[in-house]
């Protein structure tokens, strides 16, 4: 974040004020709906998504009881480095995708059912704005670019001053962290960790959403060894991020409500998810001689779930294949992506060669089926050709693996950003710092663990 | 153990005993005695009526002996031959129901040793007997000639049979005579036998018992006519004359009789004129049945009743004078006595013939009837008794219905049990699908039911007991009254 001149922003402010005066909330909604239908469906209202969670057990239950979030604080960085995202409106009348997206997001927050919605501009410290003011800033461009405030300080401020139960803080920034000198680079992650850890929030969670936008203005690279700034940048898109910071439960619900459908790269730290509903499916793509081992499997209660596989006969030539249905609706999009699930879903077992042979998402056929598979969004197919003499636990684990996009979006040198592409300096290191705070154990907690039992038939 | 000695004299005697046997077989109760000893006195050893009566008696006896004494039901009364009442037979008495005349196969002339008689005696004989009387062979009886019979039968008293009879006569035993008044043997034999048994000077043993024994008799007056044939020795036109003469004799010469039953009817259809021999086999007649009832009636009186004001005279009157009688034409007393029992016997006989051999039912298996009917003599005997064309129950009922007057209480042509009692069909309830009245189903069901409740190891005894119970129930439930 860099200091930038503010005088160029004046026409944008004038236009912004004019626009504010001319638009009502309904108009904004209508405009947003017509202009960006693909990106943001107008039906995306936080209150409406709450019922989705009731399907999930455990955590979802108290989440539902908690009602809407108490408070949402939105922090928008308005330093000079952000000017390229929010250029003062020129004669062309075209805006950046950032403007389009963030304005839309702010509108949604403002419309959300949270009790209190507060909007801040981040300069050297957060300054409170009204929705209209902040929205005007996004649309009209930054009038007075702030001098840079470095990321650890901002994070420290948020965690210390704005952290509250049932409250989330959304920080919108390019997250270009410029260390004081080259020697400080290896300590980026430590700086972040220290900043987040200062307030000792035990259930701190951070969700990071990455976006990219066209950028029209001066680009201030983090590494200033080559150039201090690149004017009239950029030929490439520049990434920007939403960091959602707050207690784990609040972050999870905010993710689910407001960011559910945001097409974005995402990564979550410290967010705890309810174990998704799951069940063995005895009538769906099952192969070989096995059945539900539960005592009451015969009752066929509606919505009952089964987790015990009783195998009557199995061999290398006659393998058993069973499918576990998973309802991942309550998880963020990241964890619903088959591309993520395939490498990260793992089976932990003893005395058996059970292994996952396929993971796939629900399709029209499964959704419209009359069988139990219609309740599930994803399916895991497991093959067994041998098993132990007695019942053995079998665990289906989704590892919390850092998604690949993070390293792809990370660069060690952003001084030649047009060649490097849409990347952010030391993004991995930033997130390493976050992870160090939210991960309590040495080993990263899995997203969920579904216990199964594999036993020979009696 | 009181006995009843029945002297059935002549063809009429045989025929009445036949009817009596039928009644006893049907279960009619004979009061005041445990045992009936029929003695048929007929010099005509080949008489058809007598022979079939004897066959029937033998059959009855075998059946009774197998069944043994019982309180009621079919064949409840013991009928024995004279010789069987005591083990000590002196060797001279044959085990038969028939008095043994010792083969009188000579003419009356030879019997009297006419040729050795003095001239005076010959003259007396010629006065009393016609030439025809003298020349006729005694083997066919006295052919309506009491004057001949009285001579011959007088000798009966000296026979071993009568001595045996007297030897075994006990206090309380009763005697009954059955005879026709218009024939030869009966008209002559009855007063003679009576006189000899009651003779104060008799040389027979137990004379006192004999004299004091309650004695009854039925005398059948003419009830049939014979076809007139020019050369026949018997002329039914002389029946009335003979009856008249006999009655005037009876008026003064029947001593020691306690009850006398008179039966008579006006003849209608003439019988075929057969003076004797196997050809004298007349169809059973209502009169004979009524005569048999006189035996039943006689036994129903207690000793005191009979002795008080003896002798008693009885006549019989029908309820309605008709040529075709059924139960409703009988006086109430008679109807109550025989209607139910005869109906039971008919049901027994009909079911026995129509269904018993082919039934496939638990009672049938229980009694092992498939085997028994084919192999066991006693079952065959029962079959004979019921269905013999000579002397069977079926035949007897048929004859009764075909005679004049006809006694036709049953429709013998139908297979439907419901319609068997003439004029009294069993009511079938229209609204009860399963109540078919007296269907084979009804009998089957009852037989199966009874077969479970009657505990009797002997299958023949059980069979008779079954049918006794079932026909009784059928009558009480379905027929109720006739």
């Amino acid at each position: 974040m860099h200091l930038t001149s503010s005088f160029r922003l004046l026409p944008a402010v004038a236009l912004g004020l004019l626009l504010t005066g001319c638009y009502s909330r309904d108009d904004i909604k209508g405009q947003a709906g017509t202009e960006t239908p693909a990106e943001v469906p107008p039906t995306e209202v936080p209150g409406a998504v709450a019922p989705k969670e009731t399907a999930a057990p455990a955590v979802a239950a108290d989440a539902g009881a908690a009602g809407p979030l108490q408070a949402i604080n939105v922090f928008l960085e308005v330093s000079g480095s952000m000017e390229g995202f929010m250029p003062k409106t020129g004669g062309s009348g075209s805006n950046t995708r950032f403007q389009q997206h963030v304005a839309q997001f702010l509108s949604e927050v403002n419309r959300s059912s949270a009790a209190r919605k507060t909007f801040f501009r981040i300069k050297e410290k957060p300054y409170r704005d009204s929705y209209q003011q902040l929205s005007q800033t996004v649309r009209g461009g930054i009038q007075q670019p702030a001098s840079s405030t470095d990321i650890p300080t901002v994070l420290d401020t948020l965690v210390s001053g704005y952290y509250a139960p049932n409250t989330v803080n959304v920080l919108i920034s390019d997250f270009i962290y410029s260390p004081k000198n080259a020697g400080a680079i290896p300590y980026i992650s430590t700086d972040i960790t220290d900043a987040l850890n200062r307030a000792q929030r035990p259930d701190l969670a951070v969700s990071v959403y990455g976006y990219a936008s066209d950028f029209r203005g001066a680009y201030y690279p983090a590494l200033k060894t080559a150039v201090r700034k690149i004017n009239s940048c950029c030929d490439t898109d520049i990434p920007y991020y939403f960091w959602v910071i707050g207690p784990a439960d609040a972050v999870r619900r905010f993710d689910a409500a407001l960011l559910e459908k945001q097409p974005a790269q995402q990564v979550h730290f410290g967010v705890k998810y309810p174990v998704p509903a799951s069940s063995l499916l005895s009538r769906f793509q099952n192969v070989g001689s096995w059945y539900y081992g539960e005592k009451d499997a015969s009752k066929r209660a509606a919505g009952a779930s089964y987790h015990t596989v009783a195998v009557s006969s199995v061999s290398a030539k006659g393998p058993v294949e069973f499918v576990v249905g998973l309802d991942l609706k309550t998880l963020p999009g990241l964890y619903r992506d088959v591309k993520y699930l395939k490498p990260n879903l793992q089976l932990q077992a003893q005395d058996t060669d059970a292994k996952i042979i396929d993971v796939f998402a629900a399709n029209d056929q499964t959704k419209n089926s009359s069988g139990a598979e219609n309740q599930y969004t994803h399916f895991v197919k497991v093959r067994v050709t041998k098993l132990g003499k007695a019942a053995r636990p079998l665990q289906l684990v989704l590892k919390n693996q850092r998604p690949a996009w993070i390293s792809q979006w990370t660069t060690k040198n952003d001084s030649n950003i047009n060649q490097a592409g849409a990347k952010t300096f030391a993004l991995s290191s930033l997130l390493d710092g976050v992870e160090a705070v939210t991960a309590t154990d040495q080993e990263k907690a899995p997203v969920f663990t579904i216990p199964l039992t594999l036993q020979p038939a009696d | 153990m009181a006995k009843l000695f029945i002297f059935g004299i002549g063809g009429t005697g045989s025929r009445v005993i036949r009817s009596l046997t039928m009644l006893l077989a049907s279960g009619v109760k004979l009061a005041n005695c445990d045992r009936v000893v029929p003695i048929i006195i007929d010099p005509d050893a080949h008489n058809g009526d007598m022979n079939r009566t004897v066959d029937m008696l033998k059959s009855y006896q075998q059946i009774y002996q197998h069944l043994g004494p019982r309180e009621d039901g079919f064949f409840q009364t013991d009928m024995s031959t004279l010789s069987s009442i005591s083990a000590d037979t002196n060797g001279g008495v044959k085990d038969t129901f028939v008095f043994d005349f010792g083969g009188i196969n000579q003419s009356f002339r030879q019997y009297l040793s006419y040729d050795q008689l003095s001239v005076d005696s010959k003259g007396l004989v010629e006065l009393l007997f016609t030439q025809d009387n003298l020349e006729s062979p005694l083997t066919i009886g006295f052919r309506g000639s009491p004057n001949v019979g009285s001579i011959v039968l007088n000798k009966v008293v000296e026979s071993p049979e009568i001595r045996f009879f007297a030897d075994n006569f006990q206090a309380g035993d009763r005697v009954f005579f059955i005879s026709s008044i218009f024939g030869g043997t009966g008209a002559a034999g009855f007063p003679l036998l009576l006189k000899n048994l009651k003779d104060p000077n008799t040389r027979l043993s137990n004379a006192g018992y004999l004299r004091n024994a309650l004695t009854g008799a039925v005398t059948v007056m003419p009830y049939f006519a014979l076809q007139s044939e020019d050369n026949s020795v018997i002329d039914s036109n002389s029946f009335l004359t003979k009856t008249k003469a006999a009655l005037s004799y009876y008026e003064h010469n029947l001593q020691g009789l306690d009850a006398l039953y008179y039966l008579a009817d006006t003849p209608d259809t003439p019988y075929e004129n057969q003076p004797g021999g196997t050809a004298q086999r007349n169809k059973a007649h209502l009169i004979e049945l009524l005569a048999a009832l006189s035996v039943v009636d006689f036994m129903q009186y207690s000793d005191a009743e009979l002795r008080n004001g003896a002798p008693h005279f009885h006549e019989y009157g029908l309820g309605t004078d008709t040529q075709d009688l059924n139960f409703s034409h009988l006086p109430d007393e008679s109807r109550e006595l025989i209607a139910k029992h005869l109906t039971q016997l008919l049901y027994f006989s009909r079911y026995h013939k129509q269904h018993l051999p082919t039934d496939k039912a638990p009672y049938h298996d229980n009694l092992n009837l498939t085997h028994a009917l084919r192999n066991e003599p006693i079952f065959k005997e029962l079959n004979n008794f019921l269905h013999s064309p000579e002397y069977g129950v079926d035949e007897w009922l048929k004859e009764l219905s075909q005679n004049r007057r006809s006694f036709r209480p049953f429709d013998l042509t139908t297979d439907d049990f419901n319609a068997m009692i003439a004029g009294k069909p069993v009511e079938k309830k229209w609204n009860d699908f399963f109540n078919k009245g007296l269907s084979q189903n009804y009998f089957l069901n009852q037989l199966n039911d009874a077969a479970k409740s009657i505990h009797e190891p002997d299958s023949f005894r059980k069979l008779v007991a079954l049918f006794d119970q079932v026909t009784d129930k059928a009558f009480e439930e379905k027929v109720k009254v006739v």
């Binding site: 070989g288 015969s298 | 039912a361 084979q440 069901n445």
Partner: protein, 130 residues
Amino acid sequence: MKGFFRFLYELIGTPQPPSETPVYREVIFPNVGLLTIGLSLAMVLIFYYLINKAMGVATFNKVRHWVIFLIINALLAFIIGIWQTSSQEVASHSYVYWMSTWNAILGLFWFFLFSVLLKRGSTNASTTPF
């Protein structure tokens, strides 16, 4: 009891498809087994005690009549098998028909067994079938 019926019905092999095993063992076998025993008992009672005793029908006691009941019993037992499996909505498989056929055979057996045990009490069919 479930074990008994499981033994009885698995004499012809384990349920197919295997995924339906619990519902067969826990629900269908006991239900079908009890229903079939009940049916056979009822048919025997009808034949021996209703028709051939209470109703006094004496001409419906032949072996052929008994065989009619026997066959009706078997057909109903087959239908019970089909009915119970379909009411439990098991996956369709030819095993349903094998199981029902086996049940019909068991129905024959039960009917015969009850016949032998109870025929004595009947009036008109106490010697049927033998």
